[in-house]
Symmetry: C2
Subunit: 209 residues, 2 copies
């Protein structure tokens, strides 16, 4: 199977089978696809809440235009981007880099100073737009990896982010619910699984110069 | 090979082998990975410029902080998001959907009205932020598919978008250069290929509720 097979197989699942749950081993693979996703400067300025609690999924559905996927999916992934870059975020990255690459921290300190100079001065809105973008790379990798495991997914932007932020209690943690992905198994009754995928032609989408 | 192998294999290539070019058949697979990428409402409100011209790559390098990947990569992918949604974008989608799914266009017209109601009223900035996000899904799928083909890539945000827009002449086409990806083959001299990947631990990145 190639990645193209995965992209062709997947579709935005409208109805999940609420009885069928993802196994722990598959969940670990999905998490790893998110964790390994590239991000700007490698900083990973986001957190992913994985909602297993039925009670919480039901609560979030109410602030997601009552979309059934929110409560019927096996797991709900809520990608939350950082709205501010703090000094400690960069310090943690430099520490982590030094540890993983087995270098003395002094060798990476200059890079830390460079990152701070560039990132700490950014306005909240600019930071938020930028970290929000990064989250979509991780979202894409989650969807691809799910498809490779024959697990269904549905990315969802239709939800009240401010209500999510309240419910997850992340406002004071400088985070914002950016995008959600419902993950699980399709219901046999979901008619959208039989619809042909609609995409622009190559001629419309690309310009080769 | 699993997707996790692809994510582990890939790295942000710092030095490309400027002699080694992507084959046409691989280029078609990479394009297909972008074309099949999901996007909000399936509208694909972006265009991808694929730069093969050495002269143009050299010119773009000058407005990309002189990063060597811009001119040394085999192909440069410039993802340009739409900054406005026009009525014709939605009409084209509805026509395309009707054609691909072999439905009478009248069956989809209601959905077209719904999309117009929701999207045409958006401010330019809100639209641009939203379409920019979508582009990162396609970027991620490009990188994953390249890795599956053992092709290297480097996503780049460090470039002067306004200069790209001028050079590509897309300002009056309501598009903006959102993100760039250099694609090709690593140079043997690129020492960053030997560095261990730096990522947060699962404990730091996820919260399971």
């Amino acid at each position: 199977m190639s990645t193209i097979d995965y992209y062709n197989w997947r579709y935005a699942t409208k109805e999940f089978n609420s009885e069928k749950k993802i196994t722990n081993s598959d969940l670990e693979i999905i998490k790893e696809s998110i964790r390994l996703s590239p991000s700007s400067y490698g900083l990973q300025l986001f957190k992913v809440f994985i909602i297993e609690s039925q009670k919480l999924k039901d609560k979030l559905r109410k602030v997601s235009f009552n979309q059934s996927q929110i409560s019927d999916a096996s797991h709900l992934f809520v990608f939350c981007n950082y709205t501010k870059v703090l000094e400690k975020d960069i310090d943690l990255y430099i520490q982590n880099k030094s540890l993983i690459q087995q270098m003395p921290i002094t060798k990476n300190e200059g890079y830390g100073v460079f990152l701070k100079k560039n990132l700490l001065k950014k306005e909240t809105e600019e930071t938020s737009i930028w970290t929000n973008n990064q989250v979509y790379i991780a979202l894409a990798n989650l969807m691809t990896t799910c498809a490779s495991l024959k697990i269904d997914s549905c990315p969802i932007e239709g939800f009240e982010a401010s209500k999510y932020n309240e419910i997850l209690n992340i406002n004071e943690r400088n985070m914002n619910a950016a995008v959600v992905c419902a993950v699980g198994y399709r219901s046999k009754l979901d008619t959208s699984q039989h619809e042909k995928k609609v995409r622009k032609s190559s001629q419309d989408l690309f310009e080769i110069i």
